[in-house]
């Protein structure tokens, strides 16, 4: 920065006469006389239209994928009505070949509306948590979908106790009690009745299994350097922070292997964008399947779902029932096989309070569903973030007391994501829980 400001010259653009194009390279002043006369706005408009036509033709698959990833509803239908014929036309003319060839060269799956680990789509779900894949970057302002209706009369969800030993916060507490992360299994919680999903056509069935109340509660196997504990952590960007913090205490140890499997902009509402059920089925079918699973989604689920040929308005009763059915399906996919009691355990991390009121209501409804379903499955622990991340009045708070009792910024500026500090608290508690369960 130049601080010799005396005799400051006015900026060239403020001088009278023709304005120079650029002050400094690169690029340099492109004021050399062009071979052709410079065009006026009408020509430039035509050029813009040609440019976009060429780009759309060559990138039609991306356009269609973007349209398909919009939230279910009229906007998506309209976008697809434009994008799909364009893509078909481009395909027929062979315009998509360069894009396919490039994708192949880069070792990528060509874009399409089918399931793919997709990133966040600007405009796809304006309220999606993963519009901000990094907490260093603010997301677009959340949009608002239909009003969520809490599934539980208690807006904070059902009272869930701690299924195992209390998870003590690390460090002392010199300024009063600090809310702990509440981890609940049915080991100590009476199972609430699990509401069956209402019939919604072939996509929605009552998936609540007949649960063996003792499955998964037996002693875990001994963990040794020769037989490391296999940990898998997956979810969306909210979960990614926690998953990454899990690495800190675990990765340098000889007793564990950690697999991170996060896909930003995903959740349970849009299996067409990323199918978590298929992914969980795939990893649980491995010969050496994960034993400790940590999963966190929901931040992007404030959008309609499609089931039984219908679009389900976000937060409506059918939407909540469908969400429950999908969560149940996913939990049951992690059930330990018969005769392998205690071999697998899933920690399903709930959503924290959200700054936006409607988003917060939906988060509490989702938490209530997950807590209720986890309560009926001994191999699943629901990690309730609401107590620790709530302010004095029980709602959203950007700054909350940490395990040491000192106030820390726990939430990212977008009012959705959790900061490094907040993620560390969750990861430390999870780590303690995992270590205690497997006795290392």
């Amino acid at each position: 920065m130049s601080y010799r400001f005396r005799n400051r010259q006015p900026h060239p653009a403020s001088r009278p006469g023709p304005q120079p194009v650029a002050v400094l390279p690169p690029p340099p002043a492109p004021d050399t006389p062009p071979a052709r006369g410079r065009p006026g706005p009408r020509t430039v408009l035509c050029q813009l239209l040609i440019c976009f036509t060429v780009a759309v033709g060559l990138s039609s698959s991306h356009l269609e994928a973007t349209a398909a990833s919009q939230p279910f509803g009229t906007g998506r239908s309209m976008a697809l009505a434009v994008a799909q014929p364009l893509h078909r036309l481009a395909e027929a003319g062979g315009l998509d070949r360069p894009d396919r060839a490039l994708a192949q060269l880069l070792g990528r799956e060509p874009d399409g509306p089918g399931p793919s680990p997709a990133g966040p789509i600007e405009g796809a779900s304006p309220a999606a948590a993963d519009s901000a894949p990094s907490a260093s970057q603010p997301g677009p302002e959340p949009g608002l979908h239909g009003p969520p209706r809490p599934a539980s009369p208690d807006p904070a969800g059902p009272a869930i106790g701690n299924g195992g030993a209390p998870i003590a916060p690390a460090g002392g507490n010199d300024s009063g009690p600090v809310p702990e992360l509440s981890m609940a299994t049915t080991a100590s919680v009476p199972s609430p009745p699990v509401a069956p999903a209402p019939g919604l056509g072939p996509d929605v069935v009552d998936l609540v299994p007949e649960v063996d109340p003792l499955a998964g509660t037996g002693p875990a196997r001994p963990v040794t350097p020769g037989a490391k504990l296999r940990i898998w952590a997956g979810g969306d960007s909210l979960g990614e922070y926690v998953g990454n913090q899990l690495l800190a205490p675990l990765s340098n140890r000889d007793l564990t292997t950690v697999e991170l499997d996060f896909h930003i902009g995903t959740g349970l509402t849009r299996p067409d964008t990323y199918d978590w059920q298929a992914r969980i089925d795939e990893i649980m079918a491995r010969p050496e399947r994960p034993e400790a699973l940590v999963f966190m989604v929901g931040g992007n689920d404030n959008q309609p779902m499609r089931a039984g040929g219908q679009n389900l308005a976000v937060g409506s009763e059918p939407w909540l029932a469908e969400y429950r059915a999908r969560a149940v399906d996913l939990m049951d996919s992690t059930r330990p096989p018969d005769g392998a009691v205690g071999a697998t355990h899933l920690w399903w991390i709930g959503l924290p309070p959200m700054r936006d009121g409607e988003r917060d209501g939906l988060a509490r409804s989702i938490d209530a569903i997950i807590a209720e379903e986890a309560a009926g499955r001994p191999w699943v622990t629901f990690v309730d973030l609401m107590p620790r991340f709530s302010g004095p009045e029980g709602g959203f708070a950007g700054t909350v007391a940490g395990p040491d009792g000192k106030a820390k910024v726990a939430r990212a500026p977008d009012g959705i994501h959790i900061t490094y500090a907040g993620s560390t608290w969750i990861a430390e508690d999870l780590w303690a829980e995992i270590a205690a369960r497997w006795g290392f």
């Binding site: 920065m1 400051r8 690029p27 071979a35 894949p133 300024s175 106030a407 910024v409 500090a421």
Partner: protein, 492 residues
């Protein structure tokens, strides 16, 4: 509405069609551009438009009063009130939580100030700074009093609205007079700015962020020294590609609409000193800080110590401008101290003598005169690494994370990759290539641009030009990931 999206492409073509129809009608064109800018801004949250409109009217009214009043004391009071009002607005939305938290800590955990939990309006720092510059320049007599319509367009013009460049009224407002610049368009030059901006943002910044930087910064304690080092360089290039990519696109879009913006970046990582760095990085912010803050603090007119103090204060406040967090204060402090130390050493005969002795010693050992490149290279290495290390608190979410990162850089485990697995040939190659471009002398870049881009493209038929631009656009789409992360500087 982000620039590199289908939504914005549709928006811009629509705006351009209106521009084509109205460019010859001055007033109608200005009204249309204001409406387009408010639609663009309201896309995030329509409530923000009220804030922008309020700030516009209030600052314009202050400027009108400043023009009308001649009494010196009254004018001083008026400009002070206007600046205080602008900073107050910024303070409420941006800094209330930060200072409330700091105060609560000082008072003890039991006495906390009520939190407002306000959503930070996009681009508030940028348009507030522009508003301040207009009022102060009016006070200084550097800009003429302008109509509300002109001032509204100046403050809200959508290409620069949310992330700069911070355009001065004296640069922007003269361009609204007449229509000469809106009929003679350097399409090839605009395409260059837009095309390279898109590539920087969609391909370079997104790749570096997702593959190199984010995994390491998410858990620095779990990364190896090599991963941390690559992430350190990677973030320096990521934030450059992200922010300069945005302003490149903004410059190109404005150019198509017949408005010239000042350049905001000039190969900043080729700087040989921190002062040089600030002449090349976010140039429109650094000159704003210089002219409205450093000068107001007294600049270098009150002795050496006061100069150092002013440098430090300017950079600390510049850090705070980026965000209400201690990490930004640390970033600003590092730059302020570096500037002060540089100034101290530059005038020191002891340092000069030591450097001469060092060169002579090298000459004696090698048997030849110390090479001329030795000094600049050493200065570049030191400058580049100070800048890179200062980015760590800038990127980190907390001082704790900063500490983890820096500790890991020195004491972390060795080896190529650990958990993050972020070190790859592609990543290292991309960082090296991006850095190499920064080191190419400006003259050569200028020559290459003219010879290989502007001149040949300008000779082509407009339809062919457009087809080539479309081809480039589709290449950027194909190379980039699906979806585009918001620009880093949107939060400032």
């Amino acid at each position: 509405m982000l620039f590199p999206t289908v939504t914005f492409a549709v928006f811009f073509v629509t705006v351009y069609a209106v521009h084509t129809a109205l460019h010859a009608r001055d007033r109608a064109w200005k009204v249309a551009m204001v409406v387009a800018s408010y639609v663009f801004y309201g896309w995030w949250d329509w409530r923000f438009c009220g804030l922008l409109a309020g700030s516009t009217v209030v600052n314009w009214a202050y400027a009108r009063l400043l023009t009308a009043i001649t009494a010196r004391r009254a004018r001083r009071a008026l400009v002070a009130t206007a600046v205080a009002a602008d900073l107050g607005l910024l303070g409420v939305f941006k800094y209330y939580g930060f200072f409330a938290e700091a105060l609560s800590r000082m008072l003890g955990a039991s006495q906390t100030l009520p939190g407002l939990d306000l959503v930070l309006p996009v681009g508030i720092s940028f348009f507030t700074f522009q508003a301040i510059s207009y009022v102060v320049d009016t006070y200084r007599g550097e800009v003429d009093d302008r109509s509300l319509l002109d001032f509204t367009l100046y403050l809200s013009f959508f290409p620069h609205l949310v992330a700069g460049p911070i355009v001065r009224a004296s640069e922007f407002l003269p361009q609204l007079v007449g229509r000469r610049d809106r009929t003679d368009i350097d399409v090839v030059g605009a395409a260059w700015w837009i095309g390279r901006g898109l590539f920087k943002k969609v391909v370079v910044a997104t790749y570096l962020g997702q593959s190199v930087v984010d995994p390491v910064f998410a858990a620095p304690a779990a990364a190896t020294r090599l991963e941390l080092l690559v992430a350190l360089y990677g973030y320096a290039l990521q934030i450059y590609a992200d922010f300069s990519g945005y302003t490149d696109i903004a410059i190109g879009l404005a150019k198509l609409l017949g408005i010239q913006f000042p350049v905001n970046f000039d190969r900043p990582y080729g700087a040989l000193s921190i002062q040089d760095f600030w002449r090349r990085w976010h140039m429109t912010l650094s000159r704003w800080l210089r002219d409205y803050l450093y000068v107001s603090l007294g600049g270098n007119r009150r002795g050496r110590l006061a100069t150092y103090r002013n440098l430090l204060l300017t950079m600390v406040l510049g850090g705070l401008w980026h965000g209400a967090a201690w990490t930004f204060v640390v970033w600003g402090t590092v730059h302020g101290l570096a500037l002060a130390v540089e100034r101290l050493l530059a005038g020191s005969p002891v340092v000069g003598a030591a450097w001469a002795r060092g060169r002579a010693a090298v000459g004696r050992r090698t048997g030849a005169a110390a090479p001329a490149w030795l000094g600049p290279t050493a200065r570049w290495v030191v400058t580049f690494h100070i800048v890179c290390l200062a980015w760590v608190p800038f990127r980190a979410q907390s001082l704790g994370e900063t500490g983890d990162f820096l500790k890991g850089l020195v004491l972390g485990p060795g080896g190529a990759t650990a958990a993050a697995g972020s070190v790859s040939l592609v990543a290292v190659g991309l960082i090296a290539a991006a850095l190499a471009v920064q080191l190419v002398p400006a003259r050569q870049l200028s020559h290459a641009y003219q010879r290989w881009f502007h001149r040949p493209l300008s000779r082509l038929d407009p339809a062919l030009q457009s087809a080539l631009m479309g081809l480039w656009l589709s290449l950027v789409v194909a190379l980039g990931p699906q979806g585009v992360a918001p620009f880093i500087y949107f939060r400032f």
